[in-house]
Each structure stands twice: as structure tokens, then as C-alpha cells.
């Protein structure tokens, strides 16, 4: 009897948790298809106002240019960060030395520095170097991050050293060993790192807000933030913009969900 009750409580808990987790997203999607008045009235069925909301949205904000910016910044950051940070993580693990351990400690310590402390010196540096409103400016601080370097160092730990030795005997250069042996074998670490980096870059609102000041260079998070600054909110239009902002991260999330869990398992161990 008590075991049955326990099972019931467990399922009830999981069902409630799942509904609460999914509901705000479902509501967002439904709201994007409805008129604002219907959203306010609490309507919970799909409407027919999607196209109208879309027309109003593109009249208000340059959605596709901002969407393009966000995609461009996030993809560039992800590709370059994976290459550069994995090289460093691998080197820290495979070629250990006193100096490198010191360097690694320094890298880990930067994790504690809050971004608001870096933001002002970086802003001043960028104004001098003409990096404001530039994609490359957005990318540079996100390429070599302690989290990624740590993830790849953990990945390199479980990479069999015999492979490296064997490749050396075959006369393969060190850099080629990295690209031809390590990279293909640690795919799941790369996948997990790609999810984390893409999400962080897409979500990076503060940094974008600091350096991107024109409509032509703004990102999607900045765009939806601009939509709520008016007095009257059109919920249909707003939720459509939120939906568009969510689609790329949702795709990455579903495509790589399994690898993310595997990669994290590797990183935590």
C-alpha cells in the first residue's frame, strides 16, 4: 500500500514538474498566433493572427537583420572558440610542466572575475581600437574561456596516451596528432562544448548591449528587450519575437541534447 502510494506521489510530482516546465513555452507559442486582446483574455488555443503579428513585428523592428546578426555572432564564436580552446585544453593536459600548471591556475582564476568588472576597460579599449559595433569585437572575449579549456582538458585526460605515442613513432607531427587523432576521438566533448558556447553567445545580452549601439548591429535579445520598452505591449507581436529568438537555441538543444549529457558526464568525472 505504502509503496503504491509512493509510486503515485513520484509520478504526480514528475507530471506537475513537467507541466510547469513546459507551460510557459507552450503559452508563448500560442500567444504568438493570437491577437493581443485574446492573449490578455487568457485564451489557450491557437489563433489565426500569426501573419498579422508577423507583419506588425517587421514594421516595428528589423527582425531578420537582428536574427542574422545573432546567428552570425553565435556561429563564429562557437567555431573559433572550439578550435582555440580545445587546442589549449589538450596542450595543458598532454604537455604538462610547471609553467603550464601555473598558466592553467591563472586561467581558472579568471572564472571568478565578474563580467561587469571587465566591461569598462574592454569598452575603453574597443573605442580606441575601433572595435565597437563589429562582429569580431563581439567574438574576441568569448573565444578562450576557462570553462571550455577546462572541459577540453578533462576530455584530453580520458584520451589514451598510447595513441599519441604510436602516432609519434609513425612520425606524425604534434600539431597533426592533435587535429587528426584527438579531434575525431573526442567528438562528444566537442558537441557538449558547442552547445554551451552557442547558448552563451546567443544569450550574451550584457556584452552586446555594451558594444552594439545601432539597429544594424543589434542582436535578437536586444531587439525583444526594445519591444517591451513602450507603454502598450502587443503580446502577440512580442511573443512571436520571443519565439523567433528561441528557435535556434531550441534546435541546438534538441539536436545535441544527448551529446550534451554525455559531454557533461565526461567533464564532471
Amino acid at each position: 500500500m505504502s509503496r503504491k502510494l509512493g509510486t503515485f506521489v513520484k509520478y504526480a510530482f514528475l507530471v506537475v514538474a513537467s507541466i510547469l516546465s513546459v507551460f510557459p513555452l507552450v503559452w508563448m507559442i500560442i500567444a504568438a498566433t493570437n491577437k493581443s486582446v485574446d492573449v490578455i483574455a487568457g485564451k489557450l488555443t491557437f489563433g489565426t493572427n500569426l501573419l498579422e503579428n508577423y507583419r506588425n513585428l517587421i514594421a516595428l523592428q528589423p527582425v531578420w537583420s537582428s536574427f542574422g546578426n545573432s546567428c552570425k555572432y553565435a556561429l563564429l564564436v562557437t567555431v573559433v572558440a572550439l578550435v582555440i580552446s580545445s587546442m589549449a585544453g589538450y596542450a595543458f593536459e598532454v604537455y604538462k610542466s610547471k609553467w603550464k600548471e601555473l598558466g592553467y591556475t591563472l586561467v581558472l582564476m579568471t572564472m571568478m572575475v565578474p563580467f561587469v568588472a571587465l566591461m569598462i576597460p574592454l569598452f575603453q579599449m574597443y573605442s580606441k581600437a575601433g572595435l565597437l559595433n563589429k562582429a569580431i569585437g563581439f567574438m574576441l572575449p568569448s573565444i578562450a574561456t576557462p570553462l571550455l579549456i577546462m572541459m577540453f582538458r578533462t576530455g584530453a585526460k580520458s584520451f589514451p596516451k598510447e595513441i599519441i605515442e604510436a602516432a609519434r613513432i609513425d612520425g606524425l607531427g604534434e600539431i597533426r596528432i592533435f587535429f587528426q587523432m584527438f579531434v575525431p576521438v573526442t567528438k562528444s566533448t566537442y558537441a557538449a562544448a558547442a552547445v554551451v558556447t552557442f547558448m552563451n553567445a546567443w544569450n550574451n545580452y550584457l556584452w552586446a548591449k555594451v558594444i552594439m549601439s545601432t539597429d544594424a548591429t543589434q542582436t535578437m535579445p536586444m531587439l525583444i528587450s526594445n519591444l517591451i520598452s513602450g507603454y502598450v505591449t502587443d503580446y502577440g507581436v512580442l511573443m512571436l519575437a520571443v519565439l523567433i529568438t528561441t528557435i535556434p537555441t531550441a534546435i541546438v538543444f534538441f539536436a545535441l541534447q544527448k551529446n550534451f549529457v554525455e559531454g557533461i558526464t565526461g567533464a564532471v568525472k
Partner: protein, 294 residues
């Protein structure tokens, strides 16, 4: 011998080629600005006209009522939200670790799903749900719980509670994934043995799951503390820091001070370093507490 020496030299050179790009970037975009901010925090003035000010900026921080308010807000978020979220994540993870559970994958995906939303997006979704003309109010009025819509976002306590609810919604699944991953490295037969010995689910949870997951719990606690002290997107987009400054976070206040109105970079850098000191102290305390229990 000579040959071997060349080999080691070659390896050493290659290792620095692999390391150099990342190290140069970290030096330029983390360490240099951090040192510069530290120096600036002891200076006063603007632009090229900076003068040494000693601890003046730091003394001013503790007299700044808005900063103290934002500090208190972050501490409230930290001590209420982080424990609730981590306990929820642990309970969910141990429920989902049961191999006989039906629809495991479905539940896991559902609870993890909020992580797919961007931070500004979910802040705006929660702002809309709890607005005076929002969904929650229309349901409460229709059900007769409220006579007229309640303006949650203009009530200091309610607004803080909404930020906390939103944070729990967004991050519980994220932490759960770390625990699930940690649980996978625990031999499942331990759980089966406990069941045979007649352990209740509660005992299994407190005596097996929690102690074995301790390193993971410690890591998530440090990550969440760090994240909570640096909250920005939610404060800016969910409540606009209001009503007044009653939900404003430290990062939000620092941003406003630095980029809205007349900037005083010495003062804002000092405030940023207060966050750094707090992050460092709390990480240290958590590590010490973690060690002591072992």
C-alpha cells in the same frame, strides 16, 4: 641522446603553438582588463584626467543606498532561490534515475526544456505572464481568487518572488542534468541492495544519493552562487529593477552607473570588485564546508 633532446624540444615548441592563441586572448581580454579595473577602482576622475584616490571609492560604495539595496537583493535571491533550486534538481534527478520509471526520457526532456530559452526571452515571458493584464491575473480573476487584477510587478515582495520563480524555472533542469550525469557514475546495484535491505526512498536519498553526489553538489552550488551574484538580464527585462530599485541586481546598477548618465569608472570598478571579493569568499567557504564534512 641528442636525438631525444631534439624530440623534447620539438614537443615543447608544439605545445606552446597550441597554447599561444588561447593564452594571448585570455591575457588581453580577461587579465589585462581585470588588472586595469583594479587600478581604476583606486582612482577618481574621468578620461585622461584620473587621480589616485586610495580607498575613497570603496568607502563610498558602503554609503551608497542603491548599491546596498542591490546587494541585499542579490543576497535574497541567493539564499532563497539557490537552495530551493538545488534541492528540487536533486529530487528530480533521483526520481529520474529509477530505471523502472515509465516515460523517463519524456520527463527528462520536459524538465530540461527551459534551458533552451534565451535569458532575455524567459524574462520577457515571465514579465508577460505576471503583468497586470497578463495570463496569471486573468486566470485568478476568472476563478474568483482576485476581485481585480493585481499589479505583481509594482509590489516589491511580489516582484522579487517572481524573479525567484523565474530563476527556479530556468535553471532547475540545468542543474538536474549535472546530478543525473553524476548519478550515472554511481553503481546502480547500490540502489537495488538498499531496496532489498528495506530502505525507504527518503533514506536512500539522504544516505546514498546526497553523499555520493557531494562533489557535483558543491560544483553546482559554486556555479549558482557565482551566477546569482552576477544576475543582469532578469533584473533589466523582467522587472526593470523595480518597483524603484527593490529588485535591482548589482550588475544592473553597475551597468546603469557606467553607461547611463555621467560615468565614474573608478567608482563602478570598485563596485565590480566588491562582487569579485564576494564570489571569491563564498567559493572558498563552500569549498571549506565541502572538505570538512568528508
Amino acid at each position: 641522446m641528442k636525438n631525444k633532446g631534439n624530440f623534447a624540444q620539438k614537443q615543447n615548441r608544439s605545445s606552446w603553438i597550441l597554447l599561444a592563441p588561447a593564452m594571448v586572448l585570455i591575457l588581453m581580454f580577461s587579465i589585462y582588463p581585470a588588472v586595469k579595473a583594479l587600478i581604476t577602482s583606486f582612482q577618481t576622475g574621468a578620461g585622461l584626467n584620473m587621480q589616485w584616490a586610495g580607498f575613497e571609492n570603496y568607502a563610498r560604495v558602503f554609503k551608497d543606498k542603491t548599491f546596498i539595496q542591490s546587494l541585499k537583493n542579490c543576497i535574497v535571491y541567493l539564499i532563497i532561490q539557490v537552495p530551493i533550486m538545488l534541492v528540487l534538481a536533486l529530487v528530480l534527478a533521483s526520481a529520474l534515475n529509477d530505471r523502472k520509471l515509465k516515460c523517463r526520457g519524456l520527463f527528462r526532456t520536459a524538465v530540461f526544456l527551459p534551458c533552451a530559452t534565451s535569458l532575455v526571452s524567459y524574462a520577457i515571458i515571465f514579465r508577460s505572464l505576471f503583468a497586470t493584464d497578463g495570463f496569471i491575473n486573468s486566470i485568478l480573476v476568472n476563478l474568483g481568487v482576485l476581485d481585480q487584477p493585481f499589479n505583481f510587478l509594482s509590489n516589491a515582495t511580489a516582484a522579487k518572488a517572481i524573479i525567484i520563480i523565474a530563476l527556479i524555472w530556468r535553471w532547475t533542469g540545468y542543474n538536474m542534468v549535472f546530478y543525473l550525469a553524476g548519478l550515472q557514475s554511481i553503481d546502480y546495484s547500490v540502489y537495488e541492495a538498499a531496496k532489498i535491505d528495506g530502505a525507504t526512498p527518503f533514506q536512500t536519498f539522504t544516505r546514498i544519493t546526497v553523499p555520493l553526489l557531494k562533489p557535483t553538489i558543491l560544483m553546482t552550488a559554486i556555479m549558482s552562487t557565482n551566477g546569482t551574484l552576477q544576475l543582469f538580464d532578469e533584473s533589466v527585462n523582467l522587472t526593470f529593477g523595480g518597483p524603484g530599485t527593490s529588485t535591482m541586481t548589482m550588475s544592473h546598477y553597475i551597468y546603469n552607473q557606467a553607461f547611463m548618465g555621467v560615468p565614474n569608472f573608478g567608482y563602478t570598478s570598485a563596485m565590480a570588485f566588491i562582487i569579485l571579493i564576494m564570489v571569491a569568499i563564498l567559493a572558498f567557504v563552500q569549498l571549506k564546508v565541502g572538505e570538512k564534512d568528508e
